[in-house]
């Protein structure tokens, strides 16, 4: 037993020691020394699955094969690795895996920044940062885009079947949370399964901020979700939009790109799903998110990384990215290359008055645990 304890203590020391490893300014200094268009080896890209068009994905969507284009222009290969959650990516970066470029969401940028897991861009190597629209240069997670460049952005709203709810004066979150409006659709409503997003919708309906640090407000939102549970078909964050078009749901909370993608795939030569289904940013407001492109402190090829980010911020590439993903581009210069039907779609590019009702997620620090616990308790 004593030997075990000694071993435990030794382990603890080893683990503790590793925390201080990356304190030196190594990668930052290397990145600062890079010049425009310089490469220093093959690029290790760590991105969400199929978030960048390459190979037959690009051919199918009739957009540029971005990895091939980058490889051809700069003569270095791109090694792609995929993740499916910000937290998995965080764990890997924190463990020191040598990726050069990552694609964290807004709140994750502030977490990584706070933990010294991102390095600053050398502005000389990323001149295309000037392409970013003004609204995206001063967001709270990274004012001035020193550590991250916005990649795509979108909103969390309501996808629904026309005729199932009253949408004459805009759609209210009440179609999910208010018994009077929602009861007729009992058994055909879905909410996302995500403590921030799901609680966020309830908070907005109750008139609070999605980033509130008030325990009473969070509790109230949890109670509301608990009361709504009986009316739901499911909590679902994956595949919900397909279930909406196939008739399992009539009202769903979800991300705009997912709905549009599903409406698109459900449409055929003689059926237009857009005639039956819509997406709305509710009148009370909605959550908005930004995915960014950034360089982790584990970077091994900082020059290739910055060259790649500059490449992705190019006006044409930025436009093609949106044409592929159906998410709005934070790249203002890219708009001339984006298909007009995307630019004109208010569910992708909301009009200014709707923009004002959006709120971005922020990292809540230690209080995040309170949300997660309240949400787990609400689901029982």
């Amino acid at each position: 037993m004593r030997r075990l304890l000694m071993l435990l203590a030794a382990m603890a020391l080893v683990v503790a020691a590793c925390g201080d490893d990356d304190a030196s300014g190594g990668p930052q200094a290397l990145a600062d020394a890079c010049t425009l268009g310089e490469t220093d080896g093959d690029l290790n890209l760590y991105n969400w699955t199929e978030y960048i068009p390459t190979g037959s994905l690009a051919t199918d969507a009739e957009v540029t094969d971005m990895l091939a284009a980058f490889e051809e222009e700069f003569g270095v290969s791109v090694v792609l690795t995929e993740y499916d959650s910000n937290e998995t990516m965080l764990a890997q970066i924190e463990a020191g895996v040598g990726y050069d470029v990552v694609v964290p969401s807004d709140y994750m940028v502030s977490i990584m920044k706070g933990a010294d897991l991102l390095i600053k861009f050398n502005p000389d190597t990323v001149p295309n940062l000037s392409n970013i629209a003004a609204e995206f240069t001063a967001l709270p997670y990274d004012p001035g885009n020193q550590y991250s460049a916005p990649y795509q952005w979108g909103t969390t709203g309501i996808g629904y079947k026309y005729g199932s709810i009253d949408d004459e004066n805009g759609v209210s979150w009440g179609v999910i949370f208010d018994p009077e409006q929602a009861d007729p659709n009992t058994g055909f409503i879905s909410l996302l399964d995500d403590e921030r997003e799901t609680m966020g919708a309830a908070l907005i309906y109750l008139g609070y901020s999605i980033n509130t640090l008030d325990e009473a407000q969070v509790d109230e939102a949890a109670d509301l979700i608990s009361a709504t549970r009986a009316r739901l078909a499911a909590f679902s964050s994956v595949g919900y939009a397909d279930l909406l078009t196939s008739g399992e749901f009539v009202v769903s909370q979800g991300w705009n790109g997912d709905f549009l993608f599903a409406y698109d795939t459900a449409s055929t030569d003689d059926y237009d799903a857009y005639e039956d289904f819509g997406y709305a940013i509710p009148v009370e407001g909605a959550a908005a998110w930004v995915d960014t492109i950034a360089i982790p402190s584990t970077v091994e090829h900082p020059c290739s990384a910055q060259t790649f980010i500059n490449f992705m911020l190019d006006a044409f590439i930025g436009g093609e990215l949106t044409n592929y993903n159906y998410y709005a581009s934070p790249n203002a210069a890219a708009e001339e290359f984006i298909y007009p039907e995307i630019l004109e779609d208010p569910s992708i590019y909301p009009p200014p008055d709707v923009l004002e009702r959006l709120e971005f997620f922020e990292d809540l620090g230690d209080f995040g645990t309170y949300y997660a616990d309240a949400y787990s308790a609400a689901k029982g």
Partner: protein, 266 residues
């Protein structure tokens, strides 16, 4: 061990068992049938029939990240299954035969732990451990991790086979053959083969399906198919994945029947 159909169970029971057997097979293959059918559908979402088309196979063949992931998956599954089957079988033999060294339940307990521990916990601890001891993350660490959980599954299945097995046969064989290796190969191994086969098949299945542990211990360029599919499903399930699944199932069928045909000819 020779046995004739219906000799031990009544004819009626035998018939019921057969019906149950085919019903279970129908149950096991029902979703696979859906997967195969929709892999040939022209429609872009699974669940609606869009006319016969090979477009998903065509797209799959040009989808580099997906093909790369498939390749990683096959390597990982192959290596981890072989090593885990050998180690797991040896451990099961030791636990069963040589109780002096390994009695008391402690060794059994160690063997059960990788089965008991939640996926995500094992994922986190292995990630930290691998980086701690300085192993570069990649295909190699995925294989190491898969072996770690698969040894246990193999050992448990093999032990189910070994339990209460009569050692007389092996002892007789030991007298008959000159070496222990010959005894093992000619007597012990054939006796435990159904357990080894079962354990190996289970290990292969687990390796081909693991998402959580793999996504934590992967390194640059070593994303596997299940991790790819898991990420994909956030967007939408395209029939392209059905095409990959169909290929894997068909390929395994062909391999199995071919090896059986070869065995029969010998």
């Amino acid at each position: 061990m020779t046995l004739h159909e219906g000799a031990l169970t009544g004819r009626r029971v035998e018939r019921l068992l057969t019906i149950n057997g085919w019903l279970v097979f129908a149950f096991l293959y029902l979703p696979i049938l859906v997967v195969i059918v929709f892999s040939f559908s022209g429609a872009p979402n699974v669940g609606t029939w869009g006319g016969f088309s090979l477009r998903w196979y065509e797209r799959m063949l040009g989808n580099d990240p997906l093909l790369h992931a498939l390749q990683n998956t096959l390597w990982v599954a192959l290596f981890s299954t072989i090593v885990a089957t050998v180690f797991g079988t040896a451990a099961a033999l030791a636990l069963d035969r040589y109780r002096k060294w390994v009695s008391g339940g402690t060794f059994d307990a160690i063997l059960y732990m990788p089965v008991i521990i939640p996926d995500v916990t094992m994922a986190v601890m292995l990630l930290l451990w691998f980086t701690q001891i300085g192993l570069p993350l990649g295909r190699g660490t995925i294989i190491l991790a898969h072996i770690a959980f698969n040894i246990s599954f193999v050992a448990i299945v093999v032990r189910a086979r070994l339990a209460n097995m009569d050692p007389a046969m092996e002892e007789a064989a030991a007298d008959l053959y000159a070496s222990r290796w010959a005894t093992f190969r000619r007597v012990t191994l054939p006796l435990i083969m159904p357990g080894v086969l079962g354990g190996g098949l289970l290990a292969l299945t687990l390796s081909l399906d693991d998402v959580v542990i793999t996504s934590f211990v992967q390194g640059p360029g070593s994303t596997t198919l299940p991790v790819h599919v898991f990420g994909l499903i956030r967007k939408s399930v395209t029939p392209e994945i059905n095409a990959v699944s169909t290929l894997m199932v068909t390929a395994s069928m062909i391999l199995v029947f071919a090896s059986l045909a070869i065995q029969r000819r010998e």
